[in-house]
C-alpha cells in the first residue's frame, strides 16, 4: 500500500509537499479525547483549563502527533511507518492552523528493504513551532 512518493526519483534533502490542518476546535479536542481514550479534562473542559491558568483548552499533543502521522502515511503509504517519534513544543489552540513539512534526511538499505528517515515539523501559520517529529518509513515504490 504505497504512498504518493516516487522514492527512486528523490534524494537526501528533498522536501515534501506541505500539508495544512485547520478547523481545530474544542469540539474536535473532545471528539479526539473520547475516541483515543485520553480523558484529561485539560484538553476538553474549558473551565478546568482556565482553573489551571490557561486561557482555554489546547489540543492534546497526541492529536497533533496523529496529524503528523497522517502526513507521514500520505508520503509513505499505510503500514510503512517503522518508527515515529515526536516532541511537543508549544500548545496548539482552537482556531489555529498547523502546517506540516517534511524533509528526507537519509535513504538506506536494511536487509531487503529500503528505508527513509524523515524529519517533520508542524508550525502554526503564525510561525510558532508546535511539534518536531522524526519518522522511519519503508520505501515501497508506487
Amino acid at each position: 500500500m504505497a504512498g504518493r512518493t516516487d522514492w527512486n526519483a528523490i534524494g537526501e534533502g528533498h522536501t515534501f509537499e506541505a500539508w495544512e490542518r485547520s478547523d481545530l476546535s474544542i469540539e474536535l479536542f473532545q471528539a479526539y479525547g473520547e475516541a483515543s481514550g485520553d480523558g484529561n479534562p485539560m484538553h476538553t473542559d474549558e473551565e478546568f483549563a482556565q482553573d489551571l491558568g490557561y486561557p482555554t483548552v489546547f489540543a492534546q499533543g497526541m492529536l497533533i502527533m496523529a496529524f503528523a502521522a497522517k502526513y507521514v502515511t500520505d508520503i509513505a503509504g499505510v503500514g510503512n511507518t517503522r518508527r515515529i517519534w515526536a516532541k511537543f513544543a508549544k500548545q496548539t489552540w482552537p482556531g489555529e492552523t498547523v502546517r506540516f513539512t517534511a524533509t528526507l534526511k537519509r535513504k538506506y538499505e536494511e536487509g531487503s528493504k529500503t528505508l527513509a528517515d524523515l524529519e517533520i515539523r508542524g508550525t502554526s501559520t503564525e510561525g510558532e513551532e508546535k511539534i518536531v517529529s522524526e519518522a522511519t518509513v519503508i520505501c515501497t515504490q508506487q
Binding site: 475516541a35 485520553d38 496523529a66 497522517k70
Partner: protein
C-alpha cells in the same frame, strides 16, 4: 522528587486489542478515514484485519500504566506535561489481534528549568502478539513534572 530506583519497574502484564469500532471512531476524530483503516473489505490482504493509524496504540500505553506507579515516582500530578512520544513497529498493528502488554519505567532524570527543577519520566510499553509471542511494537512516553518546592 522522581525516584531513580524505580527504573526498570514493570507493571503487571495486560492485554490489548484494537477493535474495528475504536479504529473507525479514532479515524473519524482525526479526519483520516482511508479505506485501509475503516473498510474491512478494502483492508483484507489475506491477513487478520484492518491496519491502524501509527499513533492509535497510544491507548495501549494508557491501559498499561499502573496509577500507583505515578504516586511511587513522586511526580507532581498537577503539573504533568506530555513532552515526547515514540512508537517503533516491528510490523504493523492490525485490528482484532490480541497483544500482551508489558509496561515499565524506562528512565527517570531531572533537569534545571527556567522556573525550577523538572522531573522527567519515560514509560515504555511493549506489545507481543499473544499466540506467537512476537514483539510487534514498543511505545515510549516521556512526561515532565514540575517539582513542588518545599
Amino acid at each position: 522528587m522522581a525516584d531513580r530506583s524505580l527504573i526498570g519497574t514493570e507493571t503487571p502484564p495486560g492485554e490489548a486489542t484494537a477493535s474495528a469500532e475504536e479504529i473507525v471512531a479514532f479515524c473519524e476524530a482525526i479526519g483520516d478515514v482511508r479505506p485501509e483503516y475503516v473498510d474491512g473489505e478494502a483492508a483484507a490482504t489475506g491477513e487478520s484485519g484492518p491496519l491502524v493509524p501509527p499513533t492509535f496504540p497510544m491507548r495501549f500505553l494508557f491501559d498499561a500504566l499502573d496509577p500507583d506507579l505515578f504516586f511511587e515516582l513522586g511526580l507532581n500530578l498537577a503539573g504533568i506535561v506530555h513532552a515526547e512520544q515514540e512508537f517503533v513497529y516491528e510490523r504493523p498493528v492490525r485490528a482484532g489481534e490480541r497483544y500482551r502488554i508489558i509496561g515499565k519505567v524506562h528512565d527517570v532524570w531531572e533537569k534545571q528549568g527556567r522556573s525550577g527543577l523538572l522531573d522527567f519520566v519515560t514509560f515504555e510499553a511493549k506489545g507481543y502478539e499473544k499466540t506467537s509471542d512476537e514483539l510487534v511494537f514498543t511505545a515510549r512516553m516521556t512526561l515532565i513534572s514540575r517539582r513542588i518546592e518545599e
